[in-house]
Symmetry: C2
Subunit: 169 residues, 2 copies
């Protein structure tokens, strides 16, 4: 049995936007100067931030807080907080995956299909052995609970990083 | 694939406390006049309210919003919102259950063990075929996501209601 205490974490987004505006080329200004879909500072936290995700498996800043990994329940579950722009590598789950979005805005993409916008209150199912990635939008973070069932078949098979071109498409 | 939109629902608690104070015996006043652990009106909603739970399976006002029931994932998941005082009947899950508390304060009790206080950010595991109940505290509601894995073994076996005496113990 695991229990988590509420923690509040805030991060400064304004500074990074200012730096981006100052350092980027003229063609990039439109991307950074548009009004964000959601102020990243208002993202709520139900669970502790957890551990920073490995740079070999995530692009950008993602934080993982595990709930359970237990053969009795045959399930792995936990929370991942993605800062704006952060995302998983491409990966598959032998037993499938259910994502529950508790705050923010992001994307989920199955290989060969268009990128899908996901937001607070959405529940996304990704079938077994289907290549996919998920993460935050470019200008707002994402809070997601994940459920990986059927772990007697395996948990996750990690593959290549999602390139900036794939992310922006 | 299912998706839910955020809905805000508010409910009036002050009136019920006033009615309780006016109608109850002197010995009950202390119970109702103490400061609530959390103002029920501030409970947040990630998912739609859903369907009112059957009075045969729940005591008080509970609302169920299902995410998924899918043999591919071998899992049932969803959200239950319990108003203050509401709770499930005693029940078991052949494949166990994982509860994720996203807001509020409540209780979880396994038969023969003390009632356990649960709150925002807690994750509770209840093993297969163990008799238990869960619900809101007497003066604050509860928002919980549930995961019932291993549904090839069955989903839930409902039993008797939790009496007021059992709830208050």
């Amino acid at each position: 049995m695991k229990k988590g205490e509420l923690k509040i974490s805030s991060f400064v987004s304004v500074l990074s936007v200012v730096i981006a505006l100052l350092s980027c080329q003229p063609g990039d200004v439109q991307k950074y100067s548009r009004v964000p879909e959601q102020d990243p500072d208002v993202l709520s936290f139900i669970f502790p931030l957890g551990q920073r995700g490995s740079t070999e498996l995530f692009t950008g800043e993602a934080f993982h807080f595990g709930f359970s990994l237990d053969s009795i329940y045959n399930t792995v579950s936990g929370n991942v907080y993605f800062k704006a722009g952060a995302r998983t590598n491409w990966h598959t789950h032998p037993g499938g995956q259910i994502l529950i979005i508790t705050d923010g805005v992001g994307y989920h993409q199955i290989e060969g299909e268009p990128k899908q916008r996901i937001k607070k209150g959405d529940v996304v199912q990704c079938p077994p052995n289907v290549l996919h990635w998920h993460g935050a939008s470019a200008d707002a973070g994402l809070q997601q609970i994940y459920i990986v069932p059927n772990i007697d078949r395996g948990i996750v098979d990690w593959q290549a990083a999602v390139t900036d071109q794939e992310y922006e498409n």
